[in-house]
């Protein structure tokens, strides 16, 4: 111990000196180390905050600002008296933000227990989801009931990312009366979404699918507004930075009178058919009915597959717009036009007579073209031929006119062409000609083709709308009537667009038109008139008309028409008419499918509509709500 102590002590002293030196050096090294790393931090900060500032500033802005579309309010649709045909009702939708949901399938499964959620709805939601951004609200259910809203509100804490939104849902108060005119809106599907301007529709669930809703989609939709919203990381809105209000869609005033439309619906009760009424002076379509009809309201939020199938599979085809797209042989309703053609082309005079033995035969042919009256009408002029609807007279006339003259003349009245009604999907019908047959049937025109065209059979096909329009044009003495449904379009800036009017005129001799009209009056009032059953006591006006009974089924030669024939093959009953005969106001065309005789079945229906229009004149026509 004592020996080692001084050594140890001296070493310790030396060590302390050395230790101090080393320690000072070490502190210096640490100081330099710390300083260098601190400068490193500074350099990195300068890099981020000076060099990268602009880049990160943009990122920060994009982080927090979200552009959100405000859907415009869809325009309201009114009838000519300002009654609402299509409106927007406040409702609630259940929407999901997929990004905020951990397990979507589980959430949907749990929602199923809570609400009335079908597989169809879920499938639709998945389809919709593909076209929404993950952080966008995607609708699952539209128009929840009050009860469903209450139920979900109670369970809401268990469904993060699922929320109720106040929305406007399209509603059609007159439902079944307007479905073939106004049409309906429905959920935008995948295919449609591709063609729509994304900005305009990103907040909209609906678009017009048929009818006026489809035709005037652009005007009814309006213009979407948008907000710049400051959002947090969860996508919740914190603050609105700027806002551009949407422009509501234009309101449409239809020419339809819903009262008349109702009457049209009522008179067609129990039959399949169509009725179109046109105001002659203006081209306003007053009633446009295809029967049977359907309720458009279920389509708005997505009709169930089952309900849709029921509508689709019904043999009465309620979703088929007969007035616009139904093609029928015009039958005898074409006779006034063919007769007028004869007069205009100077084939005969009004009083020139033709003998009707009950059939017509081409020289050298055995085939007999039969008259509906087996024993014939005897010697008839045009007046009688129209009044009694003599077929043989028109077989002769048609043969003399020839198909091309008939084609050219009738086409001026709109046969074989779209009427230009502002409703998508219209059929053009068919007005045959030699050229048409060569092109489409690869066959030459036969004399027999002309003969049956003269009584509105054969190739010729018309829509009820075309019949009404041609009748209106005839009643208008050749001033062409172009029908329209929207008579006025009122935008939010109060600019108004009225329906366009055409000024084309068919050059007709007034005398000839007077003669044909007088014959059409006799159809109703003549002793042998085919529609005399519609005369009622006390009428202050007279109706001019023409019946038609269009063959659906060709009765073979030497065969009797079987009264018990299958309903599907029964004749279509048609009637064209206008009134008052001396001052035409309204033209009405009626088609009753497989109805039988035009005079007994179709004519009374038209008479009721005419009567309502003329005896209850439309007052305060342009009243705004």
């Amino acid at each position: 111990m004592s020996r080692g102590r001084p050594v140890s002590s001296s070493r310790k002293v030396r060590d302390r000196f050395l230790e101090n030196k080393i320690f000072f050096n070490r502190v210096l090294v640490i100081f330099i180390f710390v300083s260098v790393l601190m400068l490193g931090l500074c350099a990195r900060l300068i890099y981020l905050q000076v060099v990268g500032h602009e880049h990160y500033a943009v990122l920060a802005k994009n982080n927090r600002i979200k552009i959100s579309t405000i859907p415009p309010t869809r325009g309201i649709i009114y009838d000519r008296k300002g009654r609402v045909l299509a409106q927007n009702l406040p409702s609630y939708s259940l929407e999901i933000v997929p990004e905020q949901i951990e397990n979507l399938d589980d959430t949907l499964e749990r929602l199923k227990d809570l609400l009335d959620l079908t597989e169809d709805t879920i499938e639709e939601f998945h389809k919709q989801r593909k076209h929404h951004k993950r952080f966008d609200s995607t609708p699952l259910l539209l128009s929840l009931t009050e009860e469903e809203v209450a139920k979900f509100a109670a369970a809401r804490p268990f469904f993060p990312g699922v929320d109720i939104h106040a929305i406007l849902v399209r509603y059609y108060p007159y439902g079944i009366l307007t479905s073939h005119v106004v049409g309906y809106v429905g959920r935008i599907n995948e295919k449609e979404l591709k063609d729509l301007p994304e900005q305009e529709y990103s907040g909209t669930f609906y678009m017009g699918k048929v009818g006026i809703e489809e035709t005037y989609e652009e005007q009814l939709h309006g213009k979407a507004g948008y907000t710049e919203i400051e959002t947090n990381a969860q996508g919740r809105s914190i603050n609105i930075l700027s806002k551009v209000e949407p422009t509501a869609g234009a309101d449409l005033y239809l020419s339809i009178d819903i009262d008349l439309q109702k009457t049209a619906y009522d008179v067609l009760e129990g039959v399949n058919g169509a009725l179109v009424a046109i105001e002659i002076k203006t081209g306003d379509v007053l009633a446009f009915m295809s029967h049977p009809s359907f309720d458009p309201n279920p389509f708005v939020n997505g009709i169930s597959y089952k309900a849709y199938r029921t509508l689709q599979d019904s043999p009465d085809r309620p979703m088929f717009n007969r007035a616009l797209r139904g093609l029928y042989p015009p039958g005898s309703t074409v006779k006034p036009f063919v007769g007028l053609a004869g007069l205009e082309y100077n084939i005969m005079s009004f009083h020139q007579k033709t003998y009707c033995p009950g059939y017509f035969q081409l020289p050298g042919f055995a085939h007999r073209f039969r008259d509906w009256a087996k024993w014939g009408h005897g010697s008839v002029d045009l007046n009688q031929a129209i009044t009694e609807s003599c077929d043989v007279y028109f077989y002769n006339l048609a043969l003399e006119l020839g198909i091309d003259r008939m084609h050219d003349f009738l086409q001026q009245f709109g046969f074989g062409e779209k009427t230009g009604l502002d409703l998508l999907g219209e059929k053009a019908g068919l007005m045959p000609s030699q050229q048409w047959k060569r092109k489409n049937k690869k066959a030459g025109w036969a004399a027999g083709d002309s003969i049956i065209t003269g009584i509105g059979q054969g190739f010729m096909q018309v829509t009820p709308l075309q019949l009404a329009r041609a009748t209106a044009t005839l009643a208008n003495y050749g001033k062409v009537v172009t029908p329209h449904l929207v008579s006025k379009l009122v935008r939010t800036d109060h600019t108004v667009t009225e329906a366009a009017k055409t000024n084309s005129v068919i050059p007709l001799k007034t005398k000839n038109v007077d003669d044909v009209i007088s014959a059409m009056v006799n159809v109703v009032y003549g002793e042998h008139g085919t529609a005399k059953n519609i005369i009622q006591e006390g009428l202050t006006y007279r109706i001019a008309g023409k019946t038609g009974t269009a063959q659906v089924y060709t009765v073979k030669q030497n065969e009797q028409y079987d009264k018990e024939i299958n309903v599907k093959f029964r004749d279509h009953a048609l009637f064209i008419s206008f009134a008052p005969a001396d001052n035409p106001q309204i033209a009405v065309a009626v088609v009753v499918e497989n109805g039988g005789h035009g005079g007994t079945i179709a004519a009374p229906l038209a008479a009721k509509v005419i009567d309502q229009y003329l005896t209850q004149p439309i007052q305060d026509e342009n009243r705004n709500p």
């Binding site: 070490r26 931090l41 500074c42 981020l48 000076v50 500032h53 500033a57 920060a60 982080n63 947090n232």
Partner: protein, 376 residues
Amino acid sequence: MKIETRNEHFQSPTVLGRLLQKLHIDIPLFILLALISLLSFVILYSASNQDIGTLQRQSVRVVLAFCLMTALAHVNPHQLKRYSASLYSVGMVLLVAVLVLGKVALGAQRWLDFGFFRFQPSEMMKISAPMMLAWYLAEHPFPLNWKQQAIALALIFVPTLMIAKQPDLGTSILVASSGIAVLFFAGLSWRFIGYSVLLFTSSLPVLWNVLHDYQRSRVLMFINPESDPMGRGYHIIQSKIAIGSGGLSGKGWLGSTQAKLDYLPESSTDFIFAVFAEEFGLAGCLGLLILYFLVICRCLVITLEAKDPYSRLLAGSLTFAFFVYVFVNIGMVIGILPVVGVPLPLISYGGTSMVTLMATFGILMSIHTHKKFLPH
């Protein structure tokens, strides 16, 4: 005699100064710490979305922490030295206890629940490990034989690995660096340091396998945060956006959009520096860095002026640990280091790290103000 002159040398001319000296408070360090704490309130108010409750809770912690600092400043380093070994042993026992029965908080097992308060033994290790090592190396001056070296390394790396196992990567880094700092200040040879660095680099693949999955993903995210912007890279990306968008002068106090709109996670704790950078810009950041640098400089002065080996080893080590603290936090927030859970010293919301930090400053002050009583 010598002691008395030293005493006179430190005599403050003002009454307040004399009072503070009686309290064993180091004035420059105290002022710096008070400034940083004040800044903490300013930025916490903004980062917590102007929540007064947060400030109230934090102020209680700050007051407690300053009291603890003052209390520790009164404890003679000689006493500290005497209890170093026992404190370390208690710490180790508690670490074992945590591994066995600790509460799992935030997916990591760090807490011991004593009913009335929860205690994090790893925090205690931040101080007791360097104390233990300083004590051991003061007793066994360099050069060490292989056995002593092994003991010294074991003293550092056993608790480090246990803390890393919890898993608390941040604290284990701090414990390891404070321990290594003691070795460094004690005169660890450069050759040994060279070999160690070489060994460490070559053992990285092994270390990689030891890491928890979440720790690995953090490291990977650090290398390429953009690879998963909505997932694990989110923190780093959003933090960089916050800092970068702050620019030169910042968006102004309470002007942070990243934090306010919840884009920035952990905005009042680990990532508070990003909020600070967004609101006060480069100017503010440099100011804060200078404050921290001044704290470190003052502590290095204290370290240099410490007279006995234990004190200066401990002071140097604690100073270096503080720097590592600052560097690791800011480094991760500005995207030059992986995300490890280390708060920004004296500014982040939370009591544990605040208390530990103020304890270290208390020890440093004690070392500085007790020099006259130390036997040589």
